[in-house]
Subunit: 373 residues, 2 copies
Amino acid sequence: MDSNEPPHYRISRIARELEAKGLDIIHMEIGDPELNTDKRIIDAMYRAALEGYTHYGYSQGLPELRDEIADYLNSRLNTDLDRDNICLTPGGKVAIYLTLRLLNKKRIGVLEPIWGLYHSFSKVLDLEVVSIRSEFENRWIPTDDELKKFGEVDIISLVNPSNPTGTILPKDTLDKIVDIATKNEGYIVADELYFDLTYGETRFTSFLEYDYDNAISIFSFSKNYAMTGFRVGFIVSTNKDWITKFARYMRLVIGGVPPFIQFAALEALNNKEIIDTNRRFYREQTMYLMNELKKLGFNMVKPEAGIYLFPRVPEGIDGIEFVEKLLTIGRVAVSPGTGFGDYPEFVRFTTALKKDKLEEAVKRIKYTLENIV
Amino acid sequence: MDSNEPPHYRISRIARELEAKGLDIIHMEIGDPELNTDKRIIDAMYRAALEGYTHYGYSQGLPELRDEIADYLNSRLNTDLDRDNICLTPGGKVAIYLTLRLLNKKRIGVLEPIWGLYHSFSKVLDLEVVSIRSEFENRWIPTDDELKKFGEVDIISLVNPSNPTGTILPKDTLDKIVDIATKNEGYIVADELYFDLTYGETRFTSFLEYDYDNAISIFSFSKNYAMTGFRVGFIVSTNKDWITKFARYMRLVIGGVPPFIQFAALEALNNKEIIDTNRRFYREQTMYLMNELKKLGFNMVKPEAGIYLFPRVPEGIDGIEFVEKLLTIGRVAVSPGTGFGDYPEFVRFTTALKKDKLEEAVKRIKYTLENIV
C-alpha cells in the first residue's frame, strides 16, 4: 500500500510528524480551504438530525436535493438534467473510485498533470495508465498528438478546471475528446468539481453538455461551499441507466450520505451566494500568491479557476529538493509535481489560506530559497 | 448489478414502489431501529461543527475517540487494545467491503445463514464463496464437519452474534475456528457489531480475545446507539500493521468519517447507558414478536442478541410465497431466508419497531397466513 500513497499524502504525514514535535507547519499541500462552513448550513444539518433524519435512507440522494442540483447545473450549463441523472456520494473521491471500479476496464488515459488520486486509484484497481501530457509551454492545453492517445484507452479521465493548474480546457479541446471517445466507445470520467469556482476568461464547458452517453461527471460541495469535512459530492451522467447502476452499487457498498448531511447540502444550494463569497476569496488569495511567487522567480500560467497554483520552481533549483527543504527548513508543506505525473520541476500550492498565513508562507518560501545551496 | 441486489433490497424497493402508490407498508426488512438518536449525541455533533470540525482530517479516527473505543472494548472483552488497533469507517458495510478488497484473496467461507451483504460483496469482488451451513435443528451452531470447510478458504467470514438468527457462538466453536485458521494461515473477518446487544445466557467471545494476528473485527454505532444514518463504524485488529494499512487505504478511497460525526460518536461513548436502554427495548420487542409468531405457527431458536428473528414459516406454507404475499396482501416487508444462504423456509423479521407497529404487523401476518391458499 505504501507505494500507492500519493506524494502529497507522504508530505502531509511527515508534516504532521514535525507538528507532533512542536514545529509550526503551514499546510499548502492539501486542498482544504481555510474557511468556516456557513452557519446556516450547520444549522440546517442540526435541525434535520433533531427532526429524525438519522436513519438509513435516501441512498441515491434526497429527491429534493437532486432536483436542486439539477436546476443549478441546468442554470449554469447547457444541460437538461433531472433528479434521475444524479447520485449523491460521500465525497468526490469515493465517487471516482467506485466509478472506476464499476466500469471495470483495463486501460485508463489521464490528462496530466492530474490530481494524484487518479494514479493511486489506477494502481489499486489494476488499471494500466496511459499518460496524456500537457505542457507548461502550451499553457497546459494538450496537443492533438497527445490527445490521440485517448483513442487507445477504455476510460478517458481528466480534471477540468484542472487540479493542479487551474486551467480551463477550451470547448475546442473537449470537442476533440468527445470525438475520440465516440469513435472508440470510450468512457469519459471528468472531475468537474471546480466548475463554479472559475474566475478567468475561458468559458467552462462540461462534458454533460454533449449528451454523450458514456460521460460521467463528478462534483462536490467541498470547495465551493467550504464543506470538505462533510464528505458530500455527487456524480452526474446523461445516461440514467448508468446512474441507477451506480446508485445501487453505492448503496450496496456504502449505504449513502447521512441524511442530515444531505439537508446541509440542500441548505447550501439555497444560499448560492456563499459560492460567490468563497470564489472571491479564492481568486484574491490565488492572485496574491501568484504575484508573490513570481517575484521569487517562480513561473506559472495564470489560473482561471480553483484554489491552486502549479508553478515551475525558479531556475537552478531542483523541484524535489525544494519540496523537501521547504518542509524541513521553511516548514511549509506543498505537493511535489511528481504527484501529478512526471513534472519534477513543478510544485502545487494550495492558495485558499487566510492572508496572514499566505504572507508568512511567502516569507518562509523566500527564506528556503535563500538557504538551498 | 441487478443480480447482486440482495433479496431484501429488492423487497425494500418494491415496498417503496407500493408506498409511492399510497399504500401503508410496515418495514421489517431492514435493520433500522425505530428509535431516535439521543439528543446529546446530536448536540455534540452540532457543537463540533460550530467549533470548526468541518475540515478534512482524522481519517483513521480522532485519537480520543479511538482511545475511548479501546477502553470500552477492553472493559467488555478480554483484550488489551489501544488506539492503534482501531480505524474508524463510514459505517460497518464499507469496512467489510474495503477489508475484503484489501485482503485481495480468492476464496471466502461464510457461516450461513449470514447477512446477505457477504454474498453480494463476494460477487462484486469476484470471490469464490464456500458455504458453511448451520441448521435450525442444531440451534444454528455449525457442526465440526461443516467447520472443517473453513480449512479450504483464504477468508473465514461470519457475523457473531448472528444476523439473522441472534445466536451467539459458544467459545468452543470459536476455538475450533481459530485452530483451523491458524493451520491454514487464513484471515478471519468477523462482524461483531451486535456484541453489546446481547441478552441471552451465552457469553459473547470476540475473535480479538485470541490475539490471532489475522483476525479483523467490525463494529458500528448503528444499532447500539440508534445511529444508523450517521454512517459510523470501526474495524479492530490485534495486528496494528494491518490497521495502518487499512487506514491508508480508507483515507485514499474515502477520506474518512466527517470529524463532527466522530465527536457525536465520542459523545455516545460518554453516555453508554444509552446502550442499556436500547438493548432493553430490543429484547422486549424481540421477545414480544417471538411469542406472537409462535402462536401463529412459526418456529424459531430464541435469539440471544440483536434485533432480528429468523423463524421457519408455519408448516404447509411456502417461504418465498409467504414473503411475496406478506408484502402484497399484508403490506409488511420482510427479508426472505434465501437472502442469507439457501434457507427458503425461513424469514427474517426486524424486531426493533415500536409496540403498536409490532402489534399491527402481527395482525397483518395473521391475515396474510389466512389468505394464502
